[in-house]
């Protein structure tokens, strides 16, 4: 085997190793599951929610946010008392309730509404029970 040929073989082999390493995190199982969800989205299956996967950390949280959204005007400020971890509790609330201004507990004095989810604060008086928590109007 000539030197040039050997170098060529080594170059191709190293690119193959690199390619295999790059693709090694691809999970066929996850890919199949995503294909299933895509096919459900395309065929418009009844009850399908495209944001279901984004509530992986707490599937019940979506219904809570839906109800807060229904009960509060878009121009309002809503203080959300939710678990600290993962931070997705806060980010999901901000994103799903937009354009409402969503704030954490420390800014609750600026809020028109206070919504608590699975929190001890939900035991206080005066709030309305909603899915997964309580909602106070201030």
């Amino acid at each position: 085997m000539g030197r040039a040929r050997l170098r060529g073989v080594l170059a191709v082999l190293s690119l193959l190793v690199l390619a295999a390493s790059l693709a090694s995190t691809l999970s066929p199982q996850e890919t199949r599951a995503r294909l299933d969800r895509l096919s459900q989205a395309i065929s418009g299956v009844r009850g399908w929610r495209s944001d279901r996967a984004s509530f992986w950390f707490d599937p019940d949280y979506a219904a809570f946010l839906d109800e807060v959204k229904r009960r509060t005007p878009e121009s309002s400020t809503v203080a959300i008392l939710v678990p600290q971890a993962p931070d997705l509790y806060l980010y999901q609330a901000m994103y799903r309730l937009a354009p409402r201004r969503v704030v954490e507990e420390r800014w609750k004095n600026e809020a028109d509404f206070i919504a608590t989810y699975r929190s001890e604060a939900a035991r206080g008086p005066g709030g309305a029970a909603i899915t997964g928590g309580m909602l106070w109007t201030r």
Binding site: G44, V45, D87
Partner: protein, 468 residues
């Protein structure tokens, strides 16, 4: 949900049409500056330019207090493209468009099959759910949705202390792209909006393969595109909704335009540098950094070129869009305190701490991160040993500098160096990878030749055309 009229598919078609309209405007705007490129490259440049035109159209509409909709955006895109065509009419290069060359059609087709399969997996993964990454929910998608729902860019996106995590300092191309596409839809459908990510990924693969096919060989282009497409850490559903995937496109475009300017000079290539620079700067600060490092590289490389006009032209084409964008952002949002970095570490009393932190960063990167990536790093080392210098090697110092600046940024991270490395290093590195495949692809033919410099492309010194 009515199965007869699936809204997702209908929305997806509208988003695709909106992206096609933006790309058509971009194609028209680039008609002269991209005249010498392959069709694949033209498509990639058209998308990037189109996304910029689309965002500018949205900004103009918001600026005059009008809510953007499909027709208004289309009219402004067409007007912007026409203006750009008129402005760049005399920039068209005199030489003919380059023909795609090189043998190995069958191998090229096989590699394209691999790239196509990987892209399809990413396409399906991106569209399977509404976008859900933390960065999308906390700032990219959040800002886009707020702009879409309120019909303005509210001050609170920059000033509200409750949004302390939403990176008020980040540029706005991604949120404005979401806003524009949602305006075409007439509603916010974050599952359909995700289409922009596989389209950007496709444009990146086209830009890589088109550039290398034009400057090196067809197989080099296909091999580099296949490698880039397999970068699953970048092209995965978790990154749909972030800035990294469009940024990877911007870095490839900036790199390829820089290599063309180095070898051919010319106003058309300078125009492409400016477009790529603006695209990178409006996506993320890492894009501005890359462009500025690229400008230094061009300034250095063109130091012996006469006339010096070409040197100034290349540097200004890269720096001016970044500076203008930075200035406009500063005017729009005012001065913001830095939340991510602790600059007090530069005070003399904290220098020992700074040194310790840098040691920690190096230890973390070399000891943990690099150990995890040992196999691909070894493969790269072997590849560089058995291949020879090629046209894109001039980009290597740019990548190295970018990584060194990342290490410096981790050192002064306000959240501690290890947290920053663990959460950001992989993502930051991977967004550089598609541009790095230009280096790998360009070197490929040298492994099969016995002498140095048997690349198909004869390099013309920039002095022949620079600044023409």
């Amino acid at each position: 949900m009515d199965p007869v009229t699936p809204p997702f598919l209908a929305d997806l078609c509208v988003v695709l049409a909106a992206l096609a309209a933006a790309a058509a405007a971009g194609w028209l705007a680039n008609r002269d500056i991209a005249a010498n490129l392959t069709r694949r490259e033209k498509l990639a440049w058209a998308l990037a330019t189109g996304l910029l035109l689309q965002a500018i159209a949205v900004l103009v509409l918001l600026g005059v207090g009008t809510r953007p909709n499909a027709w208004k955006i289309l009219v402004l895109e067409a007007a912007g493209a026409t203006l750009a065509t008129l402005a760049t009419k005399s920039w068209r290069p005199s030489s003919q468009p380059a023909a795609v060359g090189g043998s190995g059609r069958a191998l090229g087709a096989l590699l394209w099959f691999v790239a196509g399969a990987a892209w399809l997996v990413f396409l399906a993964g991106s569209l399977a759910d509404s976008m859900w990454s933390t960065d999308f929910l906390a700032f990219w998608g959040y800002k886009g949705q707020i702009v879409f729902l309120t019909g303005e860019i509210p001050r609170r996106l920059f000033r509200d202390p409750a949004l302390y995590f939403a990176h008020a300092e980040y540029p706005f191309l991604v949120p404005l792209t979401f806003e524009a596409l949602a305006s075409f839809l007439g509603r916010w459908n974050d599952q359909a909006l995700a289409l922009v990510y596989p389209i950007c990924s496709l444009a990146t693969l086209l830009a890589i393969s088109g550039f290398l096919a034009r400057r090196v060989s067809r197989v080099s282009g296909a091999a580099a595109a296949a490698l880039a497409s397999l970068c699953v850490f970048l092209y995965r559903p978790a990154n749909a909704g972030t800035a990294e995937i469009p940024l990877a496109l911007g870095l490839v475009l900036a790199s390829s335009a820089a290599l063309d300017f180095l070898d051919q000079g010319g106003v058309a290539n300078a125009g492409r540098l400016a477009v790529a620079s603006l695209f990178c700067a409006t996506l993320k600060q890492e894009g501005s950094l890359f462009v500025l490092v690229l400008a230094v590289m061009l300034w250095w490389r063109l130091r012996r070129v006469a006339p010096q006009k070409g040197r100034w032209l290349a540097t200004a084409s890269l720096v001016f869009p970044v500076a203008t964008h930075g200035l406009l952002m500063r005017i729009a949002r005012g001065s913001l305190p830095s939340r991510d970095f602790d600059f007090s570490l530069f005070e003399p009393s904290r220098w020992p701490e700074l040194t310790n932190r840098f040691g920690l960063v190096v230890g973390r990167i070399v000891g943990t991160q690099a150990r995890h990536a040992l196999l691909p790093i070894l493969a790269l080392a072997v590849y560089f040993l058995v291949t020879r210098k090629a046209i894109a090697d001039r980009l290597i110092p740019v990548f190295v500098t970018q990584l060194l600046v990342y290490a410096a940024a981790f050192t002064i991270s306000a959240f501690g160096p290890t947290f920053a490395i663990d959460t950001a290093l992989d993502r930051l590195t991977m967004s550089l990878f598609p541009a790095f495949t230009l280096v790998l692809g360009a070197r490929l033919p040298t492994a099969f030749t016995s002498s140095v410099g048997e690349s198909r492309t004869r390099l013309r010194p920039a002095s022949e055309t620079a600044g023409s």
